[in-house]
Amino acid sequence: MEQIIVCRNLLKRFGETIAVNHVNLDINRNEIFAIIGPSGCGKTTLLRCIAGLEKPDKGQIIIDNKVVFDSDKGLFLPAHMRGIGMVFQIFAVWPHMTVFENIAYPLKLRKMPKEEINKRVKDVIELVGLQGLETRYPHQLSGGQQQRVSLARSLVMQPKVILFDEPMSNLDAKLAEKLKIDIKILIKKLGITAIYVTHDQLEALTVADRVAVMREGKILESGPSIEIYTKPKHPFTAEFVGVSNKMSGKVINFINHNYVEMETEIGKLVCDKPYDLMLGDRVAVYLRANKIKIYPYQNLNLVKQNRNLFEGRIKSKSFTGESFIYIIDLNGVELRAHTPPEVNLSEDIKVVVTFEPSDVIILKGE
């Protein structure tokens, strides 16, 4: 696959703090690439370096086969010459311009003929669904509409790359839900490349083809969204993405090449054998809350043949609307389980807890 954005050894400091710490990044053409991480991890700074709004201290950035930054050669192409689109957390819609003027501004800067501007603006307004609002001022629009203006403004110059900096964090959940799906469909339809920065891992998984996890200025790992979720390679990813129960384990037995048996706080459990484990290895064991199934104790017979079976007691139960959150006491260890709303059990009853060996995530080191 062809790479459209390449960052090599990128370093950016603010005084004493290192915001971006020797980052390497390869982004493929026409993919949506998300960067996630807790606030202050450097993801926005990394994005701003790619945009040209921030000048890195060291490294190299290549966009569409063109070197836009190279510290060794002293080369820095400022943002206004990079020709990429960007959607901001604060919308950054200019309050003194109408919707039309906002969207037309990048084209006016490029001194396009008037008819061409009108046509392009009209097209992009249709694309993002803002018909009829052309003459409105931003304060007459809702947050969602303002963000659509910002999106239209980024798309109107038909960039090959568009950057999203936490575009949903100032919108209410309902609006964000719809907008992020719209954005994904739109980006795919236009066949452009997007980098999407967010602190919200669910948002990233929804929108992106591939995800990178960032912490303290470094990219810990990156991969297809599904793999980041199901097969994290870094303990931080396992904890940051999705809700997990963390345990420490020790390898005590191998079962016919495919499975490994582990001693943990909740007892012995069996899981798929990953790569190169040896007897006696100490590992961190993660169990996704939504991979845990619970049954009333009297239904034990139904699941008797399962490999991982534990007895527990429901300590508490909360309903979120989409699922139940159970806290289960398992030999003194608390386990968190998210179940579909159909699994409606009473508090303080005895239950059977089970999960598939393939759903257990094992990472080296404790």
Binding site: H80, R82, L109
Partner: protein, 565 residues
């Protein structure tokens, strides 16, 4: 958070601003120090040795020592009275349910909107021992006059009324940010309203009140316009006045004047530091919590008493002086008109036939119109460099620009005067340019302080978005930042325009018959004793100031409404 880079090629602009600023604000201080420590006189710059004799001479002169003591006395008592008044009225207008107060409250600011000099002149129409309106009325009713404004009491009265708004604008925002839950908690705990007001509301307002007091104190110490009108006639020595007087004696004694300037600067710095030490650590936060609620306490009949006091105060401090000066200026006889036939425009017609007045008005309008525009652009660039770029000397630029603002106005005026005598050739010195340049130096800090919050209020993301869209740094400035700042430009421009019009210390030091300006012209006529023309001239200036202010507010409000950021 992060700031935009200025590319190396574009550091030409910040570098020029930096050097220009150094040329503007540093020499006045160097000249002041040189003059105070040597025998340098106007016309030569030959220093043989340094001496402290000017300082010693100053402390040996009882008139000069008295001037300092008097200044301290006036500042101490006026700012105390002014702050107490401000505390009471701010509390009434924000924290009580007194009707009407919020509507008439803007009138409280009249004394600082027009200048202290014009305010003192207005008061002289009320309490002049011969023609003063209040004195004449008292004479008719009780058979004797109340008080001559040209006295120590008169000085304290006018200074108190003039400094009250300064403390008021500090205290009022505190009450506005005061969470009513704090008072409700006290009431719930069993305290009655009176105890709650004393133990909670006023107790919490104490640190803010103290800082308002010190602000007013420093202001009173450096005020020249009020003593110029009131203390000169009464023969009371006042520190700022002495500095001016020493430049007007024959031969002028600029060395002692400079020493005097440095001493009152030191006094102000000491007071300022004392204030900081007293206030430090006592400023408690009453806001910042979520669910913050504004609110007031409900009062019964007593609220009409509050209203009565507030209205009386506004009438006394803001409306009466304006009426006084308007009536005197419109009187065809000496003093107040008693019949309708005595009302007319005679004074104005006579005034506008005088060369001095016409020249002064024309010069002032030129200086204020263009000077405040130049300064507006200059301070915008300064503030832009300081707040939006990573120019390495930006904090030094910030400090330099604030330097003239941090010393008493007569001090910077004297420094500029001594500086200009050396550097400006006579053919420039006697033109409007010398005064315009001087005002650029005097008000650069005022301008930066006014424009900076306006820049910081605009989110950087708006500029980033333009840059991403393909706008160069210049286009970002032109299309986004400067456009969005138009309302702030208008309000800062009108604010500077008014400052330029009413400026006193620099004007009276620099103005000659060739480059006469409005305020200096008023003072010249006052010294000549042409009272009726003085009041017409002053009334016109007040009219100009108040209308420019009003137009500016309306204009920038309108634009702000259109964009509602």
């Amino acid at each position: 958070m992060s700031k935009n880079k200025l590319l190396p090629t574009s550091s030409l602009l910040p570098n020029s601003i930096f050097f220009l600023l150094i040329l503007m604000v540093v020499p006045p201080f160097i000249f002041l120090i040189l003059y105070s420590l040597s025998d340098v006189t106007i016309g030569q710059l030959h220093i043989t040795s340094f001496t402290l004799k000017h300082y010693i001479k100053l402390f040996q002169s009882s008139r000069d020592v008295n001037a300092i003591i008097n200044s301290l006395l006036v500042a101490f008592s006026s700012s105390l009275l002014g702050t107490l008044l401000a505390l009471f009225i701010a509390w009434v207008s924000v924290k009580t349910n007194t009707p009407l107060v919020r509507e008439i409250e803007p009138l409280l600011l009249v004394p600082i909107s027009i200048s202290p000099f014009l305010y003192a002149l207005s008061w002289s129409t009320l309490l002049d021992p011969y023609i003063g309106l209040l004195n004449s009325l008292a004479n008719t009713i009780i058979g004797r006059t109340l008080l001559s404004i040209y006295s120590f009491e008169g000085l304290i009265l006018v200074t108190t009324l003039a400094c009250m708004p300064l403390a008021y604008v500090v205290i009022k925002p505190f009450f506005e940010q005061f969470d009513v839950s704090l008072e409700e908690a006290s009431i719930i705990s069993g305290a009655n309203k009176r105890i709650t007001v004393w133990k909670i509301t006023l107790a919490l307002a104490l640190p803010t009140t103290i800082s308002g007091y010190f602000l007013a104190f420093v202001w009173c110490m450096e005020e020249l316009g009020i003593p110029l009108i009131l203390a000169t006639r009464a023969g009371i020595p006042i520190a700022t006045l002495r500095i001016y007087e020493l430049t007007q004696t024959y031969p002028p004694n600029h060395n002692v004047a400079a020493a005097f300037a440095i001493i009152i600067t030191i006094i102000n710095i000491v007071v300022y530091q004392m204030a900081r030490n007293i206030i430090r650590g006592r400023q408690w936060t009453t806001v910042g919590l979520r669910g913050f609620r504004k609110g007031m306490m409900e009062f019964g009949k007593v609220r009409y008493f509050f209203l009565f006091i507030t209205v009386s105060y506004i009438v006394f401090s803001s409306i009466l002086p304006l009426i006084g000066i308007a009536l005197v200026s419109l009187s065809n006889v000496y003093g107040f008109p008693t019949t309708l036939e005595q009302v007319g425009l005679n004074n104005y017609i006579k005034l506008l036939s005088k060369d001095l007045a016409v020249t002064a008005i024309r010069n002032t309008l030129i200086i204020a119109t263009f000077g405040s525009f130049i300064l507006l652009m200059f301070v915008f660039l300064i503030s832009y460099i300081v707040n939006r770029t990573e120019y390495p000397l930006r904090s030094l630029i910030d400090t330099l620009s604030m330097l003239p603002l941090s010393v008493p106005s007569i001090v910077i005026a004297l420094g500029v005067f001594l500086y200009f005598i050396y550097v400006l050739p006579t053919y420039i010195y006697i033109t409007v340019f010398s005064i315009m340049f001087g005002m650029l130096i005097r008000f650069v800090g005022h301008g930066v302080r006014a424009i900076t919050p306006a820049i910081n209020q605009i989110h950087r993301g708006l500029e980033d978005a333009a840059e991403i869209s393909g706008a160069s740094q210049f286009q970002v400035l032109k299309d986004v930042l400067m456009k969005l700042m138009i309302p702030s430009f208008i309000s800062t421009y009108t604010f500077l325009f008014i400052y330029f019009v009413r400026e006193l210390p620099l004007s009276i030091l620099l103005a000659t018959s060739k480059n006469m300006v409005w305020t200096a012209g008023i003072y010249t006529l006052w010294e000549l004793g042409d009272v009726r023309l003085v009041y017409a001239f002053a009334a016109l200036e007040i009219l100009l100031i108040l209308s420019v202010r009003y137009i500016g507010v309306i204009f920038s409000k309108k634009l702000e409404m259109k964009w509602r950021r």
